[in-house]
């Protein structure tokens, strides 16, 4: 079970409270986790990564296990603690100004 933390705006959009829990088949990567997230909550498509290119939106960042994973390859394995559900994969709205 993969745990995903969404920023407040996207929790409201997806109409969820707290963490999202996802079953993800196969390798646990940014790409497979986001695929599973968007499949379950299709209203999030285009809000985290671009519809056409699948690139991360500029003001969105990814963290897990106190590491910034924003610039990792979408196909790189996520940390073991994320894959086992011990730690959450965090989607964060970057702060850009006051």
């Amino acid at each position: 079970m993969i745990r995903v933390v969404l920023p407040a705006h996207l929790r409201k959009l997806a109409q969820v409270e707290g963490e999202v829990k996802l079953e993800v088949a196969g390798p646990i990567t940014q790409g497979t986790v986001l695929d599973a997230l968007e499949a379950r909550y299709p209203m999030l498509r285009g809000t985290i990564r671009d519809h056409a290119t699948h690139k991360r939106r500029p003001f969105v960042r990814f963290f897990a296990c106190e590491q910034d994973l924003s610039h990792e390859s979408p196909d790189a394995p996520l940390p073991e603690a994320v894959a086992t559900g011990k730690d959450a994969f965090m989607i964060v709205g970057a702060i850009a100004g006051g």
């Binding site: 409201k12 299709p42 209203m43």
Partner: protein, 395 residues
């Protein structure tokens, strides 16, 4: 008894104001989509309870919302509520926010570059929907004006969007340049006498017209004079802030440009200045009285850097002669220490008699007049900064 609904988009959510035909007591609902920027909301003329809303965020991009019950409930077209499901395939694709520029060979691959502020070529990048214009006769057909400037159309109630690529592809696109607010397509007007004819406006490219339903477009900027560009009478490059028409006389257009209020009597083929005695010819919104096609409303703003009313006095100026002669409408509006702005999509009229006029400010006030601009009252005073106002008269 007739009713009025006023749709208000703000920097932090949407609000809906409703009143009976007297327009003296108002119910306020909202915020809807709290925390998100609502650039525009508009109802279908063919089904007034069908509303479309543009919800956006610099962080999370564009969302299209639709209501089929006059704003009581909303959904993203094609996307079900977020009930968890074990059947992933059961979900539709949820592509109502998918605005992808056309690069197809059939349309001639119009994805070129436009100019950046410094004149260098810059790729087209979708940012947000500024304006939604529902079809006059089909609730499921709606047009979207977007930044970077392009026009999209949905014919399935907002589920899927396709660019009308002939606009960007007609030839002048590589010369378009963003205004201070971005390179936005902010105005879409459909000619009620010929729905295949549409007028659009882009900051800072100018006005354009199609006569065949959006396949082919051409600039209609002859007569515009903009001192802030190298060639003041260029075919494109003009910062048009807003265009308006009266449905009974769609060949007459009124324009608030970055500087200058303009008028065309030939569907945009040529323009002449009608700023006349305005205290300043800078401003953003412009609208036309619902029943008097020569009665026009503007809100003069001091300059293109200060963006507040002259002398701290909020005044709507009304011309009853189609321009040139303007009178200040001040009754009920603050006449001292007022330094708000009124943005380009934040003025609207209703079609009741007498005609109602509404506008919203960056200070969060929405003012309404139930007597054609003679007197004003604040319907609400303390909303977030108002971006757009649309009025609907309901049977």
């Amino acid at each position: 008894m007739s009713k009025v609904r006023v749709l208000v988009g703000t920097r932090k959510g949407a609000f809906i104001l409703e009143s009976d035909g007297k327009r003296d007591k108002w119910e306020v609902s909202g915020p809807h989509f709290a925390g998100w920027e609502i650039y525009h909301m508009k109802g279908s003329p063919a089904d007034p309870n069908r509303l479309y809303a543009s919800q956006s965020s610099a962080w999370f991009g564009q969302i299209i919302q639709r209501s089929d019950d006059g704003g009581k409930s909303w959904h993203q077209p094609g996307t079900p509520d977020a009930e968890p499901s074990r059947i992933r395939e059961a979900f539709p694709k949820g592509e109502s926010n998918k605005f992808v520029y056309d690069t197809s060979p059939e349309s001639g691959k119009p994805l070129t570059t436009h100019q950046w502020y410094d004149g260098t070529p810059h790729p087209w990048e979708f940012k947000r929907v500024w304006h939604l214009e529902p079809s006059l006769d089909d609730p499921d057909t709606v047009y979207a004006g977007v930044e970077d400037a392009a026009i999209f159309r949905s014919t399935d109630g907002g589920k899927n969007w396709h660019e009308l690529a002939g606009l960007r592809g007609h030839g002048t696109g590589p010369a378009w340049q963003p205004g201070a607010g971005g390179m936005c397509l902010h105005t879409i007007l459909i000619d009620p006498s010929d729905p295949k004819r549409m007028f659009i406006a882009i900051s800072a490219a100018g006005a354009f017209r199609t006569d065949d339903g959006g396949k082919n477009w051409r600039p209609i900027n002859r007569g515009l004079h903009s001192l802030y560009i190298p060639n003041p009478t260029a075919e494109v490059g003009h910062c048009v802030h807003r265009i308006a028409l009266n449905p009974s006389r769609p060949n007459v257009l009124f324009m608030q440009k970055h500087w200058d209020v303009m008028r065309s009597d030939d569907g945009g083929e040529s323009w002449r200045e009608v700023s006349g005695n305005l205290p300043t010819d800078f401003g953003f919104p412009i609208d036309v009285h619902a029943h008097e096609p020569d009665t026009v409303f503007v809100v003069p703003i001091k300059s293109d850097s200060e963006h507040f009313p002259p002398d701290g006095k909020l005044r709507v100026y009304r011309s009853r002669s189609g321009g040139n002669e303007w009178e200040p409408m001040t009754k009920g509006l603050p006449q001292r220490d007022c330094y708000v702005n009124v943005l380009r999509d934040a003025m609207s009229v209703d079609s009741l008699d007498p005609c109602g006029v509404y506008f919203g400010t960056t200070g969060g006030q929405v003012y309404g007049s139930a007597d054609g601009g003679e007197s004003w009252t604040a319907i609400v005073r303390d909303l977030p900064a108002v971006v757009s106002v649309e009025a609907q008269a309901l049977a």
